[in-house]
Symmetry: C2
Subunit: 307 residues, 2 copies
């Protein structure tokens, strides 16, 4: 199998238009008349992006939220989504439609169109795709590559809740609801993204994990980034489930699916939304992890790279 990085490298050779942002960003950014259009496309695959016994309504919700989260990270206002759907079993499709309707109604985003197909053979590799479209709300759309030497690295909300929800779901637990909801029905932080876009020098959503995504932001910005894991914000539910240990903080930083916003901005700037400073950028390259004053070895897995 071609690895995802190899294929993306091939695509990068094709996607030379500046609107593609070198395929280094969460979304494409293209001028349309007096507006700036923001476009993102995400695919979800059975048994990769959702558990086989997942509630189809949750799958639909997550597909919507993960797409809208990419728009949020650019400070965009959504104008609609397109759905590419592979038919499954009757009940599954009907439940998916319900979840889709709920998520789109919750975010006030219209379904514009799409395509529906059938698989030829068995259904164990079903995939569903969504394209989300939005309009920029700032003249400069935050990219991954805008961090400056001395900037702080900030994250909204708490991290690791989706990981805890995933663990709970696999064990068949139905509580705590907060953690299961973080996994099953993540939020797209559209309001937060719009408020942060004017002051964020770089912004992305944490879909693959704090460490790997911070490393990507630093690499795109041609800087080094240092994260203090003792500053990683944990929910009381997460801390109660795993205990608040160094390892549970490292786990929270190397797990994705939280869809919190990660951004770089000038230090000590008043922030328009609640966020936690977890690190800072300096001249150099690479990721350094600290636990207060103690330097840590990097964990083998910094996040999900091949999803």
């Amino acid at each position: 199998l071609t690895t995802e990085p190899q294929f993306i490298a091939m695509m990068r050779g094709i996607a030379t238009n500046s609107a593609a942002r070198g395929l280094m960003d969460d979304a494409a950014v293209i001028a349309v008349g007096t507006e700036t259009l923001i476009i993102t496309h995400d695919m979800m695959v059975e048994a990769v992006h959702w558990l086989p016994d997942a509630n189809p309504a949750d799958v639909a919700w997550k597909l919507v939220a993960s797409n809208l989260s990419d728009l949020a990270s650019k400070g965009a206002r959504p104008i609609g989504v397109m759905l590419g759907y592979m038919l499954g079993e009757d009940a599954w499709d009907a439940a998916f439609a319900t979840g889709l309707n709920d998520a789109l109604a919750y975010y006030g985003v219209p379904l514009l169109g799409g395509d529906t197909v059938k698989a030829a053979g068995n259904l164990d590799a079903r995939s569903i795709g969504m394209t989300a479209l939005g309009l920029a709300t700032t003249a400069i759309v935050p990219a991954r590559d805008g961090a400056k030497d001395g900037d702080g690295l900030y994250v909204t909300g708490t991290l690791g809740d989706a990981k805890a929800g995933y663990d709970l779901a696999r064990l068949g637990h139905s509580e705590p609801v907060f953690l299961l909801t973080a996994f099953n029905r993540p939020a797209a932080l559209l309001d937060e993204g719009r408020l942060l876009a004017p002051i964020a020098r770089a912004m992305m959503d944490i879909s693959d994990g704090l460490f790997i995504d911070a490393q990507r932001m630093a690499s795109a910005s041609k800087l080094a980034v240092t994260i203090d894991v003792s500053q990683i914000p944990l929910s009381s539910e997460y801390a109660a489930y795993y205990d608040d240990t160094l390892q549970s903080r490292i786990d929270a930083g190397s797990w994705g699916d939280d869809y919190q916003l990660l951004f770089a901005c000038a230090d000590n700037l008043p922030l328009p939304v609640a966020a936690t400073k977890v690190g800072h950028f300096t001249i150099g390259d690479g990721l350094t992890l600290m636990d207060g004053e103690t330097r840590l070895d990097l964990p083998t897995c910094l996040g999900f790279e091949h999803r």
Copy 2:
């Protein structure tokens, strides 16, 4: 399995925004500032939309062309595409990338972004999706529902060539190239679409077959349509391969994949591109097939309904 019409009916209940055009059109149409954005999404599935031994470069070409054809049918100028790709085998992926590059370069359309995923299990239900974006070139974007009583029904080019190419490909033939190319590398008629958009009262591309697509246009326009199969334009290559019989004309009218443009316009209007009048609209409903003065029974299959 949910049938495609049932699922689309569920989606229609969700897609209530006027930009979705009731999911009755080839593309969504949404105002963006001073411009009008046209958006379409098509999925292709292994063993459904491409033969297992198909050239992956041809698969990529067809994905691009079928998406751009939807834009052509709205008279739109493409501004970019997004790709949702499920990884396959190394050589397949590399050949796909080459075909994608060729097709996008041919049409001068940038790849803006997308998503790459892996299947969890076996690869026999791989699917690939593409979203194409364009800008309207006319104040009124032709829909399916604009035909008027007395309008002529016109089609560009010749029909059935993709069917002949499909038959030839299945038999392992490599000639005639014209027919194989019609199947493997269909053209998106972007220039023709832009020239026709100002005068077409309804327009769509023939992706599922002349008869079924004309019936859809008539139904959307709340009119009846009559097609004279003796007027269906055939290429000399098609006529030579199947003979020019009534049956071969019916086959050409009930087979898709030709991506010619089908449009309604006032009779006897000078046309800006070469096109053939194959029928006309009248008060009433339904499709009537004639062979000159002789009324024909409708064939059981009017085209591809469930792809």
